[in-house]
Amino acid sequence: MAAGLQTRRNALRLLWEKGLAGRSLLRENTRIVDSQLAHWFTGCPDTTGMALVALGGYGRQELFPFSDIDLLLLYEEGAEERLDSLIEAVLYPLWNAGLEVGHSVRTVQQCLEDGAEDFFFQVALVDARLIVGSQTLFNTLQNRCRKVLVDGKRFDFLNKMSTQRKERIDRFGVHGFLLEPNIKEGRGGLRDIQTLSWTAKVILGMQQLSFLENTGILTIAEYYTFDRAAEHLVRIRNRLHYTCGRKNDQLFFEHQEEIAKALGHQSDGAMLAVERFMQDLYESMQTIAITTDLFLEHLHEISAVSAPGNAPQEKTDIEAGIEIRAGRIHLHDSTLLQKKPHMMMRAFTHAAKKDRELHYRTKKLIAANLHLINDRARKSRRMAKAFFEFLTAIRPDSVLLESLLETGLLTAYIPEFVPIESLAQHDIYHVYTVDRHLIQTVNELQDLARSSHRHIAVSDPRILFLSGLLHDIGKGTGSGHSQRGARLAKNVTARLGMPRRAAEDVAFLIKNHLFLSHIAQRRDLEDETMIMACAQKIKSRDRLKMLYLLTIADAKATGPTVWSQWKSTLLDQLYLKISHVIERPDLDTFQPDFPQATTWMRDKVQGLLEDAGLSFETRLLPDDYLLSFGPGEIVDHIRIRLKLAPGALHLEHKRDSAHWSILLVSTDRPGLLARICGVLALNNLQVLAAQIFTWDDGTVVDSIDVCPMLTHGYAEQDWQALEEDLRRAQETMEVFEHRLQKRIEPYEKKRPHGEHRSGVEVKIDNRTSEKYTIIEIYSTDRIGLLYDMAKTFADLGIPIYRAKIGSKADQVVDVFYVLDQNGAKLTDQPLLERIHSALARIAAS
């Protein structure tokens, strides 16, 4: 007998291979099992007061090839003793045939009791269908069920059903758009269709879903789209069952490829066959999910209206044509849309700001009016304003962006989105389709922004969120998606009327959205030159912040395996390192191609020296010095150096457009920089910028830009006295200091006493440079400040090898590259503390 069933199932497979597909196959399968069970049942000697009832999917005549067969053996009180022979005749052969059977043996009363207790069983009863046996008994079950379990409890059923659906979706993936979707339990899966069918049966008393079109919930066209999607899903599940040879509902990658091929999808240069197949599947699941959402929402609305004692719904007008009713945003005046298509976006803006959802009728209204989003609307300033307000206001867990996509408004407004809609990415990293990934990225960005991650605030959030939304827009047409995405984004930002700088930022972020994560994982973060090169590429702190946030959001939105604490640590390190240097004054002139550039310079200088008949060891010139001057200038310095008597000092000065510049060449000795700074202060010259280099032979080359503190011209400046002072300062430090003090005092008195100096900061950095300890001092500028600092180093016996003096308004940043007397980095903690406190005191005084 069991063998007979097996033969029939083999016949079913043959039918399937010959092309019997979709729901026809399910009905055929049901018919095969029905007739076998009926055969066994009628073979039993005495079956009075008994019935075989099909439940669940089998009850609906939707028996998938490897699904469980849900059976109920229904019997009258008193028939117990005759049950054994029926069980023997029916269940044993089923088990022997190796079928998965879910069975129960119950009376009508037990069914009612269990149904009241167990919601799953109650739902299974909704699909109950008599296979064979007592019709009267079955009718009793149906009638009693309706009276006891359904009447007066319809909306209770609805609520339970909705809760159950929510729990199921949470468990199997909020997005049906997971790349390995569960086509039964996931959002938009077959279970959603069943949910629809159960609620329609219980609440509206509809036996078939096709009646839906009569209720006004769906248009005929919408119903057919839904029906096609349902059939599509059934076909895929049939194939999946046969492919796996067992009951399985999760579409793993390996199955996807096989099924895609079997369904005749073709690969081309841009998209794999499997990606096309999945795109179709996502569209079907999407249709089913939306239809189910809509249907349940409609029923909830009816239940709220018809529930006794409910006050009429409160409504609040938000703006002309848009109101909030029962917690939902409504576009209630559709006639306005003709003139003001941007109201569709406004509805979303309000929803985002009030953290509400759009009413489903409003969503349908928008979907039906997308033709109003024409070129003009796409360039409309009002539309852009509403869009940006929406984009920056949505909460991280909001579904509004999905609604924007699902209504079609997003693709209508930004047509660049069309090619990536439901686009699958067939790799092991991505969990979501491209469109969902982009939405998820924006949600993650919102989350980061609200968690005040790393205290990061960006100056224009619109740039960040738009970049998040568009960063993968170039996908789906082969490699190079970042570049292509940046190009596409330019069209978008132009239509949205973004200012040029902002548009450039968006393009930059999209083009480089993989840059930081790539560098963090594949480059030596200790490499100073590499960090500088990154900073040069990124250019501004604001961009760096946005790129950093986008990198995190992108990774988090890709899939659970992509973002880890490990990667986060590497990225944070890179971010902090770049952020330390991105505002360095020499950022633009820094040569990232260090070794190559210095070799070139050395050769060039060597050549010029030979031409001039001079001889000097160019290896004595440090790399950063070589990169700070032109070859001609360097040869000039060497010429000066060669003529310089031991201990002497050479001074040159010239007038540039905005300031005067001084070149000093001498031999290094302790306190030299302090004296120079002191003398400049003494001669009423303020240091604007300074570059101080020490060659390996001890020659000091200082290039200092100055301007007069008192208003007088270049010609009036007493350069003679300056040079004289410099020479004298070499000799007696004490006398010099005394004179300087007298010079500075009058200025000191002018300053209001007790004024607090803010923004003073001293940073000692032993990490950024491999060779030197870098000391940075931020403070307000004053006369003699530089002298005081340089003198502090001299007093502590610390030679300064390089110094960079930069000022912005009245704020100065002084950077000193120092080593201890043995030529090593400063690591002695007590010494570092002394330096720190001495400099901080000077900077703050």
């Binding site: 490990w566 640590t569 940073k763």
Partner: protein, 112 residues
Amino acid sequence: MKKIEAIIKPFKLDEVKDALNEIGIKGMTITEVKGYGRQKGHKEIYRGAEYVVDFIPKIKLEIITETAKVNEVVECIRQAANSNKIGDGKIFVHPVEQVIRVRTGEKGEEAI
């Protein structure tokens, strides 16, 4: 047979992998790990906020090889992973009792 376990800097992975490929090592297991040794964790100060990096991200490679090849593999990793800086990593060599290929049941060096 020996198991060679190497802790290296993440950015050196590609170089090490290529170098091992060249000497005929085709299989390895890679893990993202965190830890610290002589290259201690450090503190970063950024705009007043402090981020303590107490465990530094590293890559752990595990390779099983026949005993005769151990020195060659170790030297290969050492050279490729070396940047002459603190924190370049460590290599451990452990004895391995048995290797079994799951699919065929082959044992010993054949299963490597």
